[in-house]
Subunit: 512 residues, 2 copies
Amino acid sequence: MAVAKKHEEVMELAKRRGFIWPSFEIYGGVAGFYDFGPLGALLKNKIIQKWREFYVVREGFFEIDSPSIVPEEVLRASGHVDHFVDAMVECQKCRSAFRVVDLVLEQTGKGIEGMSKEEMDRFVKEHKVRCSDCGGELGKIFDFNAMFRTAIGPGSQRVGYLRPETAQGIFIDFKRLQRYARGKLPFGVVQIGKGYRNEISPRQGIIRLREFTMAEAEVFFDPEDPHHPRFSEMAGEQLRLWRACDQIKDREQLTETTVEQAVERKVVCNELMAYYLALTKRFLIDLGIPNGVIRFREQTPGQRAHYSSETWDAEVSTERFGWVEVAGLAYRTDYDLSRHAQFSKEDMTIFSADKKRKVLCHVVEPSYGIDRPFYCLLEHSYVSEKERKYLRLKKELAPIEVGVFPLLNRAGMPEKAREVLEGLKSRGFMVEYDDAGSIGRRYARADEVGTPYCVTIDHRTLEEDTLTVRDRDATSQVRVKIEELPRVLRSLLCDEIPFSEAGEPVKKRSES
Amino acid sequence: MAVAKKHEEVMELAKRRGFIWPSFEIYGGVAGFYDFGPLGALLKNKIIQKWREFYVVREGFFEIDSPSIVPEEVLRASGHVDHFVDAMVECQKCRSAFRVVDLVLEQTGKGIEGMSKEEMDRFVKEHKVRCSDCGGELGKIFDFNAMFRTAIGPGSQRVGYLRPETAQGIFIDFKRLQRYARGKLPFGVVQIGKGYRNEISPRQGIIRLREFTMAEAEVFFDPEDPHHPRFSEMAGEQLRLWRACDQIKDREQLTETTVEQAVERKVVCNELMAYYLALTKRFLIDLGIPNGVIRFREQTPGQRAHYSSETWDAEVSTERFGWVEVAGLAYRTDYDLSRHAQFSKEDMTIFSADKKRKVLCHVVEPSYGIDRPFYCLLEHSYVSEKERKYLRLKKELAPIEVGVFPLLNRAGMPEKAREVLEGLKSRGFMVEYDDAGSIGRRYARADEVGTPYCVTIDHRTLEEDTLTVRDRDATSQVRVKIEELPRVLRSLLCDEIPFSEAGEPVKKRSES
């Protein structure tokens, strides 16, 4: 399928069926904002739920929830007031504003991240970069702080910002958190919530949002002991790395290595970083992103955030946007804790009972976006086969678990179907009722949004209390007793039984 | 227990054990902001999950997720730019700022909500209300818009606000949503997320937050047909109402009525409002709030928001804050849709196939806070019996489901306990490991945060692969085979079996 065509088809489906909608649409929209419609919110919540299973349930990290409004002193300490900036330029003719890096990439194909403002000014002049709206001449490049600013309380005495990352809420709670962890190291803390970046002029749809959902994890450890207690379980996992040294030399060459080798050969800074690279890969695969389209790209020194001494971006290849960063793993060292110690005058060290000395923890941070994996998942789940277009989402990720259809809108079938529907709802199944159009049309509608199973109430249902269950991928059906339906569906959704053993096979007939 | 003492004990527990912490504490804190610590975030997520079960799974409402930053035109249309204001006054001596209604209530005990600014000015003079910080004289009363303001993009051309309610994100998506609902009425849409109110000078801890979590539902219906399809199931439910007409006449008298009678006698405006009052009651009881401390108070005309023609506040009685509003149910009529139609020039009517005419939907809105029920739940779950203090949370709401303890920190018990721990984690149980101090001390720590079951690995575990399970409320124990532990715990947590039948009873001994 042509590149643009697939993206367009996926986005058309996403908008038409209620996955994502441009925000504030009836008022003309505002770039950088998207709504999640009913199916989108369900899918997004399932991605978050899976992330929690990985980090909170299995890794045992503590989750906290802190405000999205943050007073200025916190973000001055964290370095964001000084460093969370984008080089910006305005057209001197039409006053359009651009992020310099984006404009240059668009017009010259060159990445200039990491250049100083002076270097950028020279580059823009030499390459004759102009306003992409009107062709006008550009002004001088200047820094624009990308945090949304507000005032807390009446007057404008107390400046606040919308958080650029959820991480700071964790760092400033460090003293309480380490007491909660009873002094044990390493320990991890996560936060899931909104992050904000006041983009100058976002033009990449859901890939470049001004308001987005993040899931961040901060792993606190003794810098002399950067070991993960279950490292051995992950040691053999394969990683596909694009190292900074190769990028700097313009080499496309990837390094394929195990987690263990990556640490031994010092390709990755320590065990914890390597462990969480592998966990990130497992998470993406568990969402349904194919292994073959996942790589880890090391940021070059000029690209790294001010707090990081080593950063790996988990990237997923997409047909429309190329490689998309879906997570960033940063070695934040003791930067944040030492800055907050300095600015707040609180002692951020902890006493290590084992080592009999004070420790200022270092931090490895696996930080995930939720919106970008959401898009990647849609694109990679979309299947177009002859006349059939559907989302091959993993069953556990599908927004709707079961469709319930009366074969006919008469003869007692709708009443029986409603009964089945309510029975499934009361057992917690996410179900949808559909009685519009032919049964084939209804299967197609359910396929299109990835619903793994559809239940049809037909003539035999009324006679003998059985109904058909149809499998999205096989498009075949089995006949099941109503009383066994919840158990059968639960087993199917958990992959405990193969579809062919779920009931009596139904002879295939035309679905129309 | 003395009133203040219980609140203090609950808050001390909440802070010490990681339920809630004052935000930005190391920088001196900012009033109106709270963090949810590890146990608080778990509990809060469970409250949200239960709300979703009620509204999304069982009622079949659609959930959407729209931005928290909203451009000014939306909030001008919704009336919030003009009406989301607090009457404010400043001390002329020390410049302290106050919300007039709060200051007057504090100093005179009178509620003056709904008064005009002129009436308030007169009232303040007559009752000699002064600055409560320095006793100084107060200036003139003026309106303060309580929305947090920001700018979208560079420069300050595009004004935006942090949303005062999630509802507007739903209203402006109405056209897409009704297509999603395929034109059927009534249909409901929910949104769960942050709401913001830039309080002038919040002084009530978690009860008066500047940033809070809301769960709002908008029910769209034909004004000529305000029926709920399952009204009959709710018709007999009892409601305890404090009507506006009684409040105006200073009568404390409550009206006890069934849902059906409330509609018939026109105490409540229509079937939908009455249905959702009853559902709100069921939700609060299902959280664990006792029926006896729940009432619905009708707002007097002066108290109502600009968009509402009838509002009922669900209130829960607390020992510290008196009656606390935890949800508000408003009859928003067609106010929002007609205003957005007018301001955006979009047609917001829908064509009713049944009635063969155009309909501008009316809206009943059940809007819940999450933070306040959270506090009410802590206060009402807190039990102080002799030397035992614990949270009698419902099992399904408890942040930690199972504690896992090695009886001794030697003899292979820690290793075995870790094995049990990992086995439970991999099956999705929310577990906590504790090996510090005596076993009695560990049970007490688990009780204090409401953990319903604790599993102890002892000498017999190593010999015969059994362990003990202890029940929080009964404080008794049963002995269970390791291989049966996940099934037993799952059955206990779902209330499928009584504790006494979960295993072989263990003779009680001292827990110390």
